[in-house]
Symmetry: D2
């Protein structure tokens, strides 16, 4: 997948302020990859014979996909930047990624899609927390 996240950021025509651009790019990329992984994991869970045991996993996947998608969009905007909004959505995103990583992690031994999704969530949680730390 050729990432255009970095290229789009580099062509923003106004001042980006003091934000850590490498951490910002990483976080946007993780959010959109995590959203897709969670959507796919929820669907894969639906096709497991033991779907009844995966109800909480599916629900958390869906929350995680929705919040990651919103976070990626907010972080892709720089005009009229408001650090409080970025921090609040990053905090929600890190929290749902942690919850989803934990929940998918419980099924990782049995379901490879849960193992991959847990990895994506953990990686996204870390990227959110690193960007949060860099917001000051």
């Amino acid at each position: 997948m050729t990432s255009t996240v970095k290229g789009m950021l580099a062509t923003y025509p106004a001042d980006l302020g003091a934000i850590d651009q490498a951490k910002l790019v990483k976080c946007v990329e993780e959010c959109i990859a995590c959203a897709q992984a969670c959507t796919a994991c929820a669907d894969a869970c639906l096709s497991e014979g033991m779907v009844g045991d995966l109800a909480k996993c599916i629900r958390t996947d869906m929350d995680c996909a929705d919040i990651c998608t919103a976070t990626a969009a907010v972080l892709s905007r720089h005009t009229g930047y408001d650090a409080n909004i970025s921090a609040a959505i990053l905090n929600a995103c890190a929290m749902v990624c942690k919850a989803c990583a934990d929940e998918c992690g419980r099924h990782a031994d049995m379901h490879e899609h849960c193992r991959l999704c847990a990895e994506a969530c953990r990686s996204c949680e870390q990227a959110c927390n690193e960007l949060l730390g860099a917001l000051g």
Copy 2:
């Protein structure tokens, strides 16, 4: 608009726990109305002659629409409920609604769409805060 939010909640087949259902319904309704108002306001701003003065308003409208949409989805799910996730996204939603109400409010005297949108944001902010308070 016939709201189906209340009807859908009433037919949820499992235990909803101790959540305040009236505040939950109100908050979902406000989130989806606010998301639509913000999307429409961003577009209306784009068609104003003075669009250059409305850049921050458009950006905040778009953030608010994205976060309200995600919040409405999370709050529409009850399976495997995690109060921490609800609280985190409600906190982000209340914050962006306040920011958008403030920003649209600055243009409310000149642009009726900003006045209506600010009202929707303020109403959604209040519903988020009331539900947050009821989560305990």
Copy 3:
């Protein structure tokens, strides 16, 4: 739920062209109500004991929620209007609403949430088709 869809449309500052405004408002309202009903129905299905029988219903609910949300957003914008884009997304929305109404309809006798969701989907399908017809 106090609809702000009509109010926002009425304050759009530029020319709306020849579009049927009543059908447009109705369609946006139906799309956002249907998206919420489908999200809630998918979640309610997850909490049914027979969730394995509802896998296709949950999946279709999720597709319908995603497409209705995108359709509501596109229809809430009027700047630089392109009838071909509106028609294409309305066509996809009517199709997924029909599929979801049919699928939920199969479970309507057993699950009240499916019955309500099927109604929301059928109503949204009709509103999409009526607006499509009015686009010319």
Copy 4:
């Protein structure tokens, strides 16, 4: 950006049918990259001095982001597959990507973000059309 799209598809536990998996993976990747590029381009346009000349570009970017996001989600699901829904949303996605590539292309000489975004849209349009052709 490490793509997890391919990995998630490979771990889907049920039959994927006759779909061309390479084209499916490519299309999902293009849709999520295009959605991000369009969101970033709309925001970059907002910060240009000549934003008034970019109103249609911003609007089309937003439509394209919304439809690409919905398309990526629909294509990430395989349970209860309905080729008609995939075809309808792919058709809408190819159309909005073409419109956005054309509109951004008009500003590509002046704005590098529009040039990059037009490339992402053109690439996504092509991936949608190739997958559409492979659906049969």
